[in-house]
């Protein structure tokens, strides 16, 4: 793979992706011909992830971050839309064919306890991944296990142990090692540090950052911790109720958030300075359910700036500055 610096070339292009989960309909409702409801988890997302960058994805719980991640990897089959990987459409090929592409795109999961198969030793886990995809010659597998363990900062002596014998942080490293085992180009990390203690969190963040840089990985980093996002990502996409509402380079986003929701997120995160104490609410009310998404701008019921037009028409994601897009009618104010 040619070493590419950030921004040269898109690696993953998501075009108008949808994933709805239909709610089970009761017999009587079917008879009464009530419309079928569904959870609109991902509701038309378009994103470009550039080669070698770390793209952050933030948003409230339930806004569809994980679903988007899974839909990209076809862990959930998207309903509509396309994902291009390295220019190739990977949503409309057979699962069989797609399996061949899997090794290029890997995932690191949030829960360190459920993301490792408790019955496989570390070595078995890594070797299985390598053999299925014939990443290296069988005779080199051992050496590669050692290499991977070193990469994630684990002692090779630990390779024969089972996941149950490791702490959360160590498990998260092993999860990363597994993803790296197949030499991926692209890794989706779905809240990889949320479950960890601060001190361990920092270790894993450093590790991911180093790996990304050293291996020229492209990373989609999902989190709702703005401090972490700010620390690790190059660009950030903000999601609200199944849609991306703002996309910007990290620095700019934090310094000058354009979408009111982004501002709310930033304001809600507690400041690490006891001298600066805010006492007014960043936002009131809870996010509406993804089943009954408000008409117009989906944020309008909670938005302090909302006007009539916000109820009526949904703002498109528009490029407002180079590399900055936002979906708000009044982004400028």
């Amino acid at each position: 793979m040619a070493v590419a610096s950030i921004g040269e070339q898109p690696l993953v292009v998501i075009k108008d992706l949808y994933k709805h989960f239909p709610l089970k309909q009761a017999i009587l409702d079917v008879i009464a011909r009530k419309p079928a409801l569904s959870v609109r988890a991902v509701d038309g997302v378009s994103l470009v992830i550039k080669q070698g960058e770390t793209l952050g994805l933030v948003g409230e719980s339930g806004c569809g971050k994980s679903t988007l991640a899974k839909a990209i990897l076809r862990l959930e089959e998207p309903d509509k839309g396309t994902v291009l990987f390295n220019g190739k459409d990977i949503t409309h090929i057979s699962r069989q064919e797609f399996r061949g592409h899997r090794r290029h795109m890997q995932m690191v999961f949030q829960d360190p306890y459920s993301s490792l198969n408790p019955r496989l030793s570390v070595r078995e886990m890594l070797i299985e991944a390598m053999t299925v995809h014939k990443v290296c010659a069988p005779k080199d597998a051992e050496a590669r296990v050692a290499e991977l363990m070193a990469m994630v900062g684990m002692n090779i002596a630990a390779a024969d142990r089972f996941p149950g014998e490791f702490s959360g942080g160590q498990r998260q490293r092993l999860g990363i090692a597994r993803a790296l085992a197949v030499d991926p180009l692209f890794i989706i990390a779905d809240e990889p540090v949320s479950a960890l203690d601060v001190s361990i969190q920092a270790q894993v963040i450093n590790l991911l950052q180093d790996l990304q840089e050293n291996l020229h990985l492209t990373l989609l980093f999902v989190s709702h911790d703005l401090r972490v996002i700010r620390h690790i990502t190059h660009r950030v996409a903000v999601m609200y109720l199944g849609k991306v509402v703002e996309l910007a380079p990290t620095q700019e986003l934090f310094e000058r958030p354009l979408h009111p929701y982004t501002k709310v997120l930033a304001a809600a995160a507690p400041v690490l300075d006891p001298r600066v104490r805010h006492r007014e609410y960043a936002i009131e009310g809870e996010p509406p359910s993804p089943i009954h998404i408000p008409t117009g701008c989906r944020f309008h019921p909670r938005c302090v700036r909302a006007r009539d037009i916000c109820k009526a028409s949904e703002p498109e994601l528009q490029e407002v500055a180079p590399g900055r897009t936002v979906a708000c009618h009044f982004w400028g104010q």
Partner: protein
């Protein structure tokens, strides 16, 4: 003075020192499983003993269990016949010992076949869901809609009595609990991240099912097996009571108990000792099951 632990200047990329193994070492030192549960130990001891008896009844039994002697009918326990003799003049101790074989067979085969089949059904239904799940679960409903014993009787009436048909009958109905347990576990397990990880890694369905799901969903059904062994033996005994069990003169406890019942006033030893044997073995398996679940419960987070 040098710091006891050098700061990890190279950052985290260098192999982390001790911590990787620290917690593991602690676990290592913890007590071995067999000191964790008294029930488990007792269960293992009893079941091991029962297995020994079941495999080598000839080594222990003082007499041939089937040799009849009309002159020795219904003798009370004595030195020559420690547990007495039955209405055919056969040595009860020897029959109780030999019966271990038949009962173990009923218990184990009656559990093993349903276990395998039920597990398969549960795996498929749980993993694939949808139509496959619907069909398999309706099949479960159908089997469940018959009371166990009644269905077994009907099947035996169809196939004829005898130990193989008994297995068959028990198997035809016994798989349901396994299918249900496994399916439930698979429904949970298939949404766990390590299964997603396996899918992201492009593993085939069969690899995922057999290597990543199966080993992790087996534990509660294995615990259930222990109870099921007892249940099968009891079902066998009930069938013996109805005359649908093991063919005489093959020694079997349930049959011995039910045949000995008529003699209860005159020769209590006929049914009492096989009864003890059944309770003893059943208790052994129950303890084993209890112990296993104790163990799994402490093992789980």
């Amino acid at each position: 003075m040098e710091p006891a632990t050098a700061p990890n200047a190279a950052g985290d990329l260098a192999p982390a020192p001790a911590p990787a193994t620290a917690s593991a070492r602690v676990k290592r030192k913890s007590i071995p499983f067999w000191r964790k549960s008294l029930a488990l130990n007792l269960g293992i001891i009893i079941v091991a003993f029962v297995f020994f008896v079941g495999f080598f009844p000839g080594l222990i039994a003082p007499y041939n269990p089937n040799t009849q002697n009309a002159d020795l009918m219904l003798q009370a326990p004595s030195a020559a016949h420690i547990l007495g003799t039955d209405n055919y003049g056969r040595d009860i101790l020897s029959r109780v010992i030999w019966a271990t074989r038949a009962d173990l067979q009923i218990g184990l085969i009656g559990t093993a076949i349903p276990f395998v089949f039920g597990t398969l059904v549960g795996l498929l239904a749980g993993y694939y869901g949808g139509v496959i799940d619907q069909i398999l679960m309706r099949l479960v409903d159908i089997v469940v809609a018959f009371p166990f014993i009644v269905l077994v009787i009907a099947i035996i009436a169809f196939l004829g009595p005898g130990i193989y048909n008994l297995y068959m009958a028990i198997s035809l109905v016994g798989w349901v609990p396994y299918a249900r347990i496994i399916r439930g576990e698979v429904l949970v397990a298939k949404n766990l991240d390590y299964v997603s990880a396996a899918r992201v890694l492009g593993y085939s369905d069969w690899r995922i099912i057999l290597r990543h799901i199966l080993p992790n969903v087996l534990s509660s059904s294995i615990v259930y097996t222990a109870a099921d062994v007892v249940f099968c033996m009891l079902a066998g005994a009930s069938m013996g009571f109805l005359g649908l069990g093991v063919q005489p003169p093959t020694p079997e406890w349930g049959q011995a108990i039910s045949e000995g019942r008529v003699f209860i006033a005159r020769a209590w030893w006929l049914s009492t000792f096989p009864g003890f044997a059944l309770v003893f073995v059943g208790t052994g398996f129950s303890l084993l099951g209890d112990g296993l679940s104790d163990l799994l419960r402490t093992k789980g987070r």
